[in-house]
Amino acid sequence: MGSRGSTLSKIPNVDKLMQETGFSQAHIIRLHDRFRALDNDEKGYLCPQDFEAIKELAMNPIGDRIIGAFFAQGPQQETVDFNSFVKVLAHFRPTDKNRPKESTSPDPINSRTNKLKFAFQLYDQDKDGKISRDELLQVLRAMLEMQVTEEQLESITDRTIQESDTDRDNAISFEEFRKSLDKVNIEHKMSIRFLR
């Protein structure tokens, strides 16, 4: 594995990465180890097959969407390097409530808004800024697998959109999405303790 120093030195721009994501050195090292474990052929980057090799992810109904999110950083992205990997996972770091709010600096990656934006991206596959009825239908179909009729799916979709759609465009925009999750404790729900 190598000593700490040598691991860190292998990662390009590690200081910038740490500052952007807020991870500590220990975290970065842990993630780097995981990155290397996932990287089957020692390529130095990850491709979709590496992700698909994780078998629990294959059972996950939205597994393919999650994999897609890693490759969404740029157009037609084929590979994920370590920096992008860490940046995506930074969304799931628990929020630091005690951090002093600097009005000039942008929101940290793990702020509530950014977490929600990440989740929203997973719904919105065509990236038009809205969750259309079809996209919602697809998600529901994936989550409920084979257990319901098409009819029921459509009813639920209609009901869902109708409930949250305030501007009546038959789609859920990010603001509407955010509003409907007002009462859910996103900071708790979308955080992994590991990534403290």
């Binding site: 993630l31 995981r34 474990a37 996932l38 992700f51 994780i54 629990e56 992810l57 059972m59 996950n60 109904p61 939205i62 597994g63 999650i66 996972l89 799931f92 628990p94 409530k97 989740a119 997973l122 719904y123 998600v139 529901l140 989550m143 409920l144 697998e145 257990q147 319901v148 009729t149 009819e151 029921q152 459509e154 009813s155 639920i156 209609d158 009901r159 869902t160 109708q162 409930e163 949250s164 999405f177 409907s180 999750l181 009462k183 859910v184 404790n185 900071e187 708790h188 729900k189 979308m190 955080s191 992994i192 303790r193 590991f194 990534l195």
Partner: protein
């Protein structure tokens, strides 16, 4: 006020005349059956001497049930009385009032010269405590509980241990001081006393916290702690009792004590889980004997409690485990009425138990022999408070390192302040053997003082403090379907991310458990169709049903959304409605549901309880004006059918058929609206089926909807609206019926139990 006093006085005259005796054991009847033997003798000896007693007084043989009923009646009347007095219940928590009543009653009995009964431990632990705990366990909100289980366990185990040793140890130090004359109290006795007094009491916590509606996190922390510390208390109590009797303690004993704790806790949970699974399995087969379904729930739970008590395991934990384990499966299997029965019976029993416990506490205070020792009592109170505060602060400091959402100072204050002691401490103290513990009376006095202090001072001031500190209150909101879907989505997302990180965290295990549950357990324990029903669908149907009930209760002021083509006139019609809710687009399946719902509604289904306050039950909307309701529902059903026509024919009907005036006019002119037409089986007939046991709804509905409904409906509605019949509409209609036939299978069983409360988590997966 005066009527209450009079009732009180009357009850007590009745109570006192035959004489009460000791605890709840019926007095031996020395004065036997007067009428019988003498009469017979007299009859035998000389037939005409004694007249046949027309009216005789024979109290002894009903004495025990009579007295018990009288006490329960008293408790219930007190409860009634408190809520009749307008402002009292908002200032003083009920528990305080009840203790005061108990004191008065005890005093009254004493004054009359009788011996007031003391809260016997047997009675308390076997009869009064289980209903409260079962009520708590069955309706335990699983999601917040499991999310915070680490914190709760820390507080329950480590906190209680800390309290016990701190209080016990320091009290021993105090007793050793010269001036207190307490030298006889040895270390073991002090530690035993410490362990008795340190446990936070679930009854008292429930009684006070239920009234202040604090936010879910704090509620579950304090309440969970009070439930789980039972294992610790049981072990410590028996441990120190043994040691005090034996005289010495070795390292081996300490080690055995730790092992004992694990056995007690885990054993209790295991016993509870086994009984829970048995209950779930039994409920699978009860579809033909719906009437005794609630009985199984109660019996299995009580058996779990008693079985655990046989082995000196933690009965409370067994009861909680049993309730929590059986609930998702039982609720999927039983009928709606059984569900309501269980809910109300549990609430009723726990309410009465709680009332009785507090009254008896008051009475026992008067009745018991006390030994007041200023030093001891004052030190106990102070040490308890100090120990609690230090314990909470210290533990929170450590726990916050592991929590995602940290506990703030305000939270810590409420947790510390909410550590109320109650009747469990008293009963445990009462159980002490006077031979081994000659200072038992002093202990009891101190225990009662602490209980009074916490219940009165802390109980009364916690509500203004909560308001003062602006602690977050419970959010009384309904979960929207959006929240439900997105929450499930996030669960999957987090599980995926955890898998990518290679981290076996919370979500990973939750997901595994859910899969296991879905694959194996549900198949065994849930009958028929419902075993395959995903959680989201159940939730969705419950929401729809609730909304349909609201539709009925709002009197059918329907607002058709504008999504339908060429319905400009409809858009502008805004009948006045009490609520702002817009109805969803009524797709074909949905208004089928509405029809079914309206029918089942006539069997007096209830709206779900919003908050789990034992003192408020939603007022029965169908109590008065049964006839009005009947008429209103007919009206709404007509509207429902009308809406289906609109959906199918896609035309603009004649002037707003849904406005209330038009509806009334229509019904007035149309004589058909009032008669039930037996011939056309397609029209859903109203079954007023109040007393019969609930048969599976699916049977009723499938039979009725299998026939094609369009032609006869069209005839009926002819005079009322314009329509353009089209062949496409026919096809749609037929397809709808077929699909509805299938759908009903899925819908029907869900409709049979909407579940109790909105914010409660019974809508969620087994281990969300």
């Amino acid at each position: 006020m005066t009527s209450r006093a009079m009732t009180l006085a009357g009850l007590f005259l009745l109570l006192l005349t035959p004489g009460t005796g000791g605890s709840q054991v019926p007095g031996t009847d020395g004065a036997g059956d007067h009428g019988g033997p003498h009469g017979l003798d007299g009859h035998g000896a000389n037939a005409t001497n004694k007249a046949f007693p027309v009216l005789s007084f024979d109290y002894k043989h009903v004495q025990m049930p009579f007295e018990i009923s009288l006490w329960v009646l008293l408790a219930s009347l007190m409860k009634l009385g408190f809520h009749l007095i307008p402002r009292l219940s908002s200032i003083v928590p009920e528990s305080c009032l009840l203790i005061v009543v108990g004191l008065l009653v005890g005093g009254l009995i004493r004054v009359v010269g009788e011996d007031p009964p003391i809260l016997g431990s047997q009675l308390f632990f076997l009869c009064l405590l289980p209903p409260i705990i079962l009520d708590a366990g069955y309706f335990l909100p699983i999601r917040p509980f499991t999310e915070n289980v680490g914190t709760i366990l820390m507080f329950a185990v480590v906190g209680t241990l800390w309290n016990a040793f701190f209080v016990g140890g320091l009290l021993y130090g105090v007793c050793q001081l010269e001036g207190t004359h307490l030298g006889r109290v040895d270390l073991m006795a002090c530690l035993l006393f410490g362990s008795i007094i340190s446990a936070v009491d679930p009854v008292a916590v429930l009684a006070v916290f239920e009234e202040i509606h604090i936010n879910e996190l704090l509620h579950i922390l304090v309440f969970g702690e009070s439930l789980l510390n039972d294992a610790v208390t049981v072990v410590l109590y028996h441990l120190f009792e043994e040691f005090a009797a034996a005289g010495g303690v070795t390292i081996k004993d300490v080690f055995l004590g730790i092992v004992c704790f694990l056995v007690v806790a885990l054993g209790g949970i295991l016993v509870g889980a086994i009984y829970g699974v048995l209950a779930a399995f039994t409920s699978r087969f009860t579809s033909h004997t719906r009437v005794i379904e609630p009985l199984f729930v109660f019996l299995y739970s009580y058996m779990a409690y008693l079985s655990a008590e046989v082995f000196h395991l933690s009965g409370i934990m067994a009861l909680i485990a049993c309730g929590a384990v059986m609930r998702p499966y039982v609720e999927a299997n039983i009928s709606h009425k059984s569900h309501t029965t269980i809910k109300y019976f549990l609430k009723m029993w726990s309410s009465v138990s709680e009332t009785l416990i507090f009254i008896f506490l008051g009475v026992s205070t008067v009745a018991g022999q006390h030994h007041w020792n200023w030093t001891f009592v004052i030190c106990t109170v102070i040490l308890c408070l100090v120990a609690r505060v230090l314990g909470v602060v210290g533990l929170t400091f450590m726990i916050n390192k592991f929590r995602i959402v940290k506990l703030t100072t305000k939270d810590q204050f409420i947790i510390a302040y909410g550590g109320l002691r109650g009747a469990i401490a008293f009963s445990l103290g009462y159980l002490l053997d006077k031979v081994h513990f000659p200072m038992r009376d002093m202990f009891l006095t101190a225990i009662i003082t602490v209980i009074f202090f916490t219940v009165f001072v802390q109980g009364m001031t916690i509500r203004p403090l909560v308001d003062l500190l602006a602690v977050k209150k419970k959010q009384e909101t309904k979960r929207s379907i959006n929240e439900e879907i997105h929450t499930q989505f996030l669960d999957h997302l987090l599980t995926g991310i955890e898998d990518i990180c290679g981290h076996y965290g919370h979500h990973h295990w939750k997901d595994k458990l859910n899969r296991f549950n879905k694959k194996y357990v549900k198949k065994c324990l849930i009958a028929g169709e419902r075993s395959k029903e995903p959680q989201l669908i159940a939730f969705y149907h419950k929401m729809e049903m609730k909304q349909a009930i609201e539709l009925v209760e709002s009197g059918g002021g329907v607002k058709i959304p504008s999504a339908m083509p060429s319905t400009v006139s409809m858009q502008n019609i805004q009948p006045k409605k009490p609520t702002e809710r817009a109805l969803p687009q009524l797709s074909k399946s949905r208004e089928e549901e509405i029809r079914k719902i309206l029918r089942t509604n006539l069997q007096k289904t209830r709206q779900r309880l919003r908050s789990y306050n034992r003192h408020t039950l939603v007022a029965d909307p169908y109590e008065d004006g049964w006839n009005d309701m009947f008429l209103k529902r007919r009206r709404v059903m007509e509207l429902g059918k009308k809406i289906s026509e609109l959906n199918n024919y896609l035309t603009v009907p004649a002037p707003a058929p849904d406005s209330p005036t038009m509806a009334r006019a229509r019904l007035a002119s149309d004589p058909q609206a009032w008669s039930i037409k037996p011939k056309s089986d397609s029209i859903p007939t109203i079954q007023v089926d109040l007393a019969s046991p609930q048969s599976p709804d699916s049977v009723n509905m499938v039979d009725e909807f299998n026939k094609p409904s369009k032609p006869t409906e069209a005839e009926e509605e002819e005079g009322l609206m314009m329509k353009a019949p089209s062949s496409s509409a026919d096809q749609k209609e037929r397809k709808r019926d077929k699909e509805d036939g299938v759908e009903q299978q899925r819908l029907a069983r869900c409709l049979s139990d909407p579940g109790p409360s909105a914010e409660d988590d019974e809508d969620e997966p087994f281990l969300p």
